[in-house]
Symmetry: C2
Subunit: 365 residues, 2 copies
C-alpha cells in the first residue's frame, strides 16, 4: 500500500520518501493477490463491494503503467473467479449470495457441478455447483512489490530501510518521522506523513491514541505449491462445510492456497493447525493438490477494522494521512487508495468518503 | 552412517578420509532419531529386531564417548516409546504385536487408554489403548552429525566435501576414489573403500552392477514443530486407521512428526499430500499439535532393501565394503554397523552375518 501511494504521489510531482525496514515484507508477502470484489462480497458489505469494483477498474491501467515503467511482468490475469460449493448447505449459501450479487448487477453465473468441472477439470467429483464471477482478476503481489520498488528507484524516490520510532509533532501538527536505531538516530522532516503500516497502524509513538485508526491484526496463513504444469485456469474459491478456502494459480505453475483468518494478535507463526485446515479444505475441492510440491508456507497479518472498510483520509492530527485497514483487500484496493491519497496530498479537503477516519469519532468518545 | 564408521575406524587407528559433498545431508537430516528396535518390530522381522536390540545396547557408550570427545549434548533420551491405537482395529493389531514382543522377552506393557493419557496427558481422549516399550530410546540425529564432524576434526580426519565420480579399480580390486568436478579432478588412493551412500548406494561408477547392493530409495517426509514447552515425555507412535505416525520430542521443545513411506524413486519434494497425511494422523493422536509452530518440513530418502535388513560386509569387489540399506533404522544401527565395519577393515573375513551382502548372490544370477 505504501509503495503504491509513494509511486503515484511521485508521478504526481510530490516529493516522497518511503520509510520501511522491509518493503513488501508485510501482508503483501503473504497475499494471494485476488482482485475479486465480486466473489469476496458478503451480505451487508455493499460499500466495500463498491470500493472493490471501483479499484478493480483502475488495476489494468495501474498495472500497465507499472509494467511499462519497469519492464516487469506482473502476471495480471482476468479469467474470473469460480466459487464452488462442497455440500448442499455450502451450495445453498452460495446461491443466496449469487442472488444478492445479481441484484447488484454484478456479472455472475450459476453453474452445475458438471459445468464447474468442465471449466476446471481438476475439481473434485464431489463439487456440487458453483458461481462464476467472470469480472474478477488476480495478480502476483510479490511481483507488484518488486516492480513498485523498481519504479520508485527509477523516479529517484529514496526508500529508507529502517524502522520508524515515531512521529515528530508540534502545535501545527506533523513535523517529521523519527527513525529507530541507536547508531544514527535521525528525523526525516515532513509536513505530510502517510501512515500505511497495515496491521501495525494502530501503534505509532508520538501520536495521541485517539488519532490512530482502530486497526487490529488478523492473521492469515497461506501455502504456496509448485506444479510442473498449471493446474487451474482461474481462481477457485470454495466453501467446504462452511469453511472458506481459495486456490490461486500463477503463470509459472505456482498454486497459492489460502487463507486462515485468526485473531491472535501479532502472531506470525505458521502452525500445524493452519496448514492442516488449508490442506483439508483444498483437498476436498481439488484432490490432485496432494501430488504438488510445497514451495513455501507463510503467515501474514491483515489490518482489520470494526466495519471491514479501510481507513483512508486525514486524521485528527494535521498532516497525518491514514491509508490502512484494508483487511483482506489490500492488493485489490491499492490503486484506488493511492489515487485517494494523492488527492489528499494535493490539498483535497472533502471528508465524505465511506473510508474516512472520522467515521470512528463517535465510537471513541 | 559414514561419519560413524569413519570416527570408529579412526579411533581404531585406521587412516581414514571421508568424501561427502554434504555430510549429514542425507537421510540423517530427515531422521527423527528413534532408537526403538522394540516398537519398530514387525512380524517375521526377528533378525532385524535382534540387530536393533544389539545396536541400541551400544548407543549409550557410543554417545557418551562422542559427547566426551566433543562436549556436544546429543539429547539422548531413554524414557521409552508409547505405541498407541486409535480405533478398535488398530488396538487389535497392536495387541497381537505386543504378544509377539512378549514372546521374544522384550520389555513391553499393555496399557488402557486412560493409562496412556496418564503417561502423556496431551493424547486424545479417543486413544483406545497402547503398549509401552520402556527400553526404547531416541536421540537428535542432527546433533549426532555435528558431533561426529567435530570428533573427526579433533582426530585430524580429512572430510573432503566433494561428490564421488566413481571408483578406481584394478585386477586386484579397489585402488581409490575418483572425485567429481571438472576444476580439479583427483583420485584419493585407497585399498579399502566403505560405501555408505544410503539410498544412492546402488549407483556408483566403476563398479560392476552385480557388486552393488540392491538398495532403493524410500521417501520419507517429516515435519518439525516447535513448542514453548515440551509436550510429550517420550516418543509416541501410533496407528490411525492402519496408518503409522510418530511424534518424537526433543529437549528444546521441538516435536518431530514422521514419516511418510513413499516409493517414488529419487524424489525429495515435500508435497501437500505428505504434510496432509502427517497432520491428519498426528492430530488424531494429539489434537494440541494444531497450536504448535511449524519449524521445518523435510523429505529424505531411506535406503531400502528387499528383505528390510541392512547390507553390511565385503562386496564381491576386493576392497569394497558395503554399509548401507539401513532403511528406517540408520540412526539406531549406526554403532553396530560401525563396529562391524571396523572389524572388516581390520581384516575380519567371516561372512556369516545376517547382513552379509552375499545373501543376495543367488537372486542376482
Amino acid at each position: 500500500m505504501g509503495l503504491s501511494i509513494a509511486w503515484q504521489a511521485a508521478l504526481d510531482g510530490v516529493s516522497v520518501t518511503v520509510v520501511d525496514p522491509s518493503p513488501g515484507g508485510g501482508a503483501s508477502h503473504a497475499a494471494a493477490g485476488m482482485l475479486a470484489p465480486v466473489s469476496e462480497v458478503a451480505y451487508t458489505e455493499e460499500p466495500l463491494l463498491r470500493l472493490g469494483v471501483d479499484s478493480l477498474a483502475r488495476w489494468p491501467a495501474f498495472a500497465a503503467r507499472l509494467a511499462e515503467a519497469t519492464g516487469h511482468d506482473l502476471d495480471l490475469r482476468a479469467e474470473g473467479t469460480l466459487d464452488v460449493a462442497f455440500d448442499a448447505d455450502d451450495l445453498a449459501a452460495l446461491h443466496e449470495l449469487s442472488t444478492f450479487m445479481a441484484k447488484l448487477d454484478l456479472p455472475v453465473e450459476r453453474l452445475t457441478g458438471r459445468e464447474c468441472r468442465r471449466l476446471e477439470p481438476m475439481l473434485a467429483p464431489s463439487v456440487r455447483g458453483g458461481v462464476l464471477a467472470s469480472g474478477d482478476a488476480w495478480i502476483d503481489p510479490r511481483r507488484v512489490v518488486r516492480a513498485l520498488l523498481a519504479a520508485l528507484s527509477g523516479l529517484g524516490v529514496p526508500v529508507v530501510r529502517r524502522s520508524v520510532a515515531g512521529l515528530d509533532t508540534g502545535d501545527d501538527g506533523v513535523r517529521g518521522v523519527r527513525l529507530a536505531g541507536d547508531e544514527s538516530p535521525a528525523t526525516i522532516p515532513a509536513r505530510q506523513v502517510v501512515l500505511a503500516t497495515g496491521a501495525w497502524s494502530g501503534t505509532l509513538a508520538g501520536v495521541p491514541p485517539e488519532v490512530l485508526p482502530p486497526v487490529r491484526p488478523v492473521k492469515g496463513q497461506i501455502m504456496r505449491l509448485r506444479s510442473p504444469v498449471p493446474v487451474l485456469s482461474r481462481c477457485v474459491r470454495g466453501t467446504v462445510r462452511g469453511s472458506a478456502v481459495y486456490l490461486v494459480p500463477r503463470g509459472d505453475g505456482e498454486l497459492v492456497l489460502g487463507a486462515t483468518q485468526e485473531e491472535l494478535g501479532f502472531d506470525t507463526r505458521v502452525t500445524a493447525g493452519g496448514l492442516w485446515e488449508l490442506l483439508r479444505d483444498a483437498r476436498e475441492l481439488m484432490p490432485g493438490i496432494t501430488e504438488l510440491e510445497v514451495a513455501d508456507v507463510v503467515a501474514g497479518l491483515r489490518p482489520g477494522t470494526p466495519d471491514n472498510l479501510p481507513v483512508i483520509g486525514r486524521s485528527a492530527l494535521p498532516g497525518l494521512i491514514l491509508a490502512t485497514g484494508h483487511h483482506r483487500g489490500g492488493v485489490l484496493l491499492a490503486p484506488l487508495t493511492a489515487d485517494l491519497v494523492v488527492r489528499l496530498l494535493a490539498g483535497d479537503t472533502t471528508d465524505d468518503h465511506p473510508c474516512s477516519p472520522s467515521r470512528f469519532k463517535d465510537s471513541r468518545t
